[in-house]
Symmetry: D2
Subunit: 145 residues, 4 copies
């Protein structure tokens, strides 16, 4: 995948393999639905056990889903041999969400050699916007295994 | 607890009861360690199943712990009959964290009749700072049950 | 302008009058170029005296332009008799900007009775994105004069 | 100043010289009051011409002062031959400010070889907190002149 600009099917397979290897993400049940260079959609089915005291989706879960979608979108565009880490995350909570499928679409704004910026929309079961997020990432050389 | 300024033991009992009633928080294993008016410390033991692909604590988990500590700190100071919801969350990721006990100390900056601001430090097992967070909350009348 | 949903020309005239009455904004030379319900574009000509040591536009100026565009966009949709104040501002700096016309397009994400969220793009002279911004606003009753 | 850890007087002189060379900062009348490694206090006298329509200090000015104080604090700790640029700025607006002296204290949270995090308090004439800010910076090699 030279320059991180492989075709959609290749990107999708790569990201799914990454999520499956992450205990945190697979434990949450996050699924990559769609992926292209610079844009990734993930989904999670939120059940009663993931709701807070008021029966609503916790903001931390929305932040997690947003950061994951943005990070994967950045992943599709960082150069081979380089990695990214989140250094700042901002989330605007627009509406309260209930149980059902939560979907986050992450998009890159700019992926440079040292810094990347991305944003995400997080929608609830009915397709209404629950949260907007912005992520800033540091891009560095891959650490030797 | 008039004006949300009860003594520490009363506050601690109230917050522990709230977390215990929240499936999301009790499922994560979040524990309230300390609480006073405007300041709350919570902890979580992060095991291998909560780590990401690189064996690190996911930023979404740090965001969750930070937002919870800040929200509980705000909770201690909102007036009776009023409630708060997170409307904006910002997190600066300072260091990567590994498995072990993660601890977040939330503090209110100002709790008004309509808006509250808070901040949190999130430390890793060794006491080093992993993340700084800022939360902005809307304070509204309690909804009738 | 019932419900803040007047036509474009009326909105534009109202916002221009507001900016003209603000010493801070008129001193900067900010101009409202376009306005509709929920969307406002403003521009500023940045001269040498507004550049920093490296000959670049200071991030604080981009933050100012973004917050102004978002605040005016919110203004077009708050109900009569209510006002808004910025309670949180986030800015992602994507590219350095030089002298010339800086243009910010603010859009509302949601304007509620107590809270509003908005976002803005800030472009440089050549139309390239310099910054993305997110604003969170508290909406309250107008204070009696 | 090896490693950016010179003594206070040397740091103060260096930062004052930098601000004086920046048309933007000297035009605003920003003054460096105090500086040590990782901590810088700046002040600005806000007159009627810098107030908005409601007679209040514009949030963009508070953002500017906060970003400047944080950036200078980072400056004191970046290694020789390296420079920093703001890549994300977050501001929580806590209280409205009027005319008079505005003072911002910037502190570094961590300054690494590629990324730096800082925070700032902005106080009004009466010493009350007007805003809290968080800045994230990219640290890169100095560009050849």
């Amino acid at each position: 995948m030279p320059g991180g600009t492989g075709d959609g099917a290749e990107i999708l397979a790569d990201l799914r393999s990454r999520l499956a290897s992450s205990p945190f993400h697979s434990g949450l049940g996050l699924v990559v639905e769609d992926a292209a260079a610079g844009s990734v959609t993930i989904a999670i089915d939120v059940g009663p056990e993931q709701l807070n005291l008021q029966g609503l989706v916790h903001g931390g879960l929305l932040a997690t889903v947003a950061d994951t979608a943005m990070g994967l979108a950045v992943r599709t565009q960082v150069e081979p041999g380089r990695r990214h880490v989140t250094i700042q995350l901002g989330v605007q909570y627009v509406r309260a969400g209930g149980p059902g499928t939560i979907r986050a679409r992450g998009r890159t704004i700019k992926v440079g050699s040292q810094v990347a910026h991305a944003e995400a929309d997080v929608d609830g079961e009915d397709g209404r916007l629950l949260a907007r997020a912005q992520g800033t990432y540091s891009v560095t050389a891959e650490r030797p295994a």
